[in-house]
Subunit: 167 residues, 2 copies
Amino acid sequence: MPHTTPPRPSAPEAPVAHATAPSSPSSPDDLGLVDGLAQLSFAVQAALGEVAAAHGLSIAQLRLFGVLRDREPGMQELARLLGLDKSSVSGLVDRAERRGLVRRSPSPHDRRAVRVALTEQGHQLAREATAEAGRHVHALAAHLTDAQRAQLSLLASAMVAGPLPTA
Amino acid sequence: MPHTTPPRPSAPEAPVAHATAPSSPSSPDDLGLVDGLAQLSFAVQAALGEVAAAHGLSIAQLRLFGVLRDREPGMQELARLLGLDKSSVSGLVDRAERRGLVRRSPSPHDRRAVRVALTEQGHQLAREATAEAGRHVHALAAHLTDAQRAQLSLLASAMVAGPLPTA
DNA sequence: TATTGTTATACTCTATAACTATA
DNA sequence: TATAGTTATAGAGTATAACAATA
């Protein structure tokens, strides 16, 4: 399998944003919010990419598998979940199906539609890959203290969650 | 410019890792370290992708520009900085050069080598894009308190920096 | 011989546009 | 007409392998 797109040797060093604008680092070790998050995101993506590549997958496939772990969506819904065009998802699913990792079955109610599901082999691979991804990402935070990890977990969740609905 | 790869509508919702393994969320709003970081990384990448697309660039180009903001490396060095194969960098630089954003000049000392630099137009675009990327990423953290943002900045920096050298 | 960079080739990912088959 | 999905096409991004030129 020579061509698994993102095998990234290991998190490279690429600033991307040189904190030109808003953020203002308060200590020498502080990259600033923007650069810090940008670099962190590349590091996480690199880690995920390594894991994916180790299983002969790409990050896109890994995401697909993550979504399918507890759903059997149609193509349109899948496109929405992944933030991709439906035609992109066609290809993504095609390639996974060709490898026996997912299956398309006709929707019971709508004869235009299909339902996409992981095969047993796909589930197996998804379990292994997500577990390993967990270990790799966790390893990135290996030298933080438990308290720092807990903090980070909360802050990351808060950012992703968006503004609190009511409270 | 119809084909600027990652225009991502906006951060989609893709768990990727379902916290199968190590992490253990302590509160209901806590996604766990792994899922939180994974989703955060996708959100940041999506934000960067939007900005890049708005300027007719891809994330890869944006990274290239970030690296070139304060360097004039050779192709090999550039490949190392970006974590890519030199042949990939050839293409990346080709496309940017075709648009007049970077320039290849012969290395003074080694007649095999070239030096890659941003053109004036490239610098301009790099300034605008990185500033805008800063605003976008910053916006992701809009509903955090100042103290939380400062924390996050430090934690992200610490993760990326790796274990402290001596201290 | 080793290194720098390019080219040839191939594959994934992504999008837009056009199409088919239902609803 | 509108929606679900596929196909055709095209460009970016990436890698491996083979190559040319220079050290």
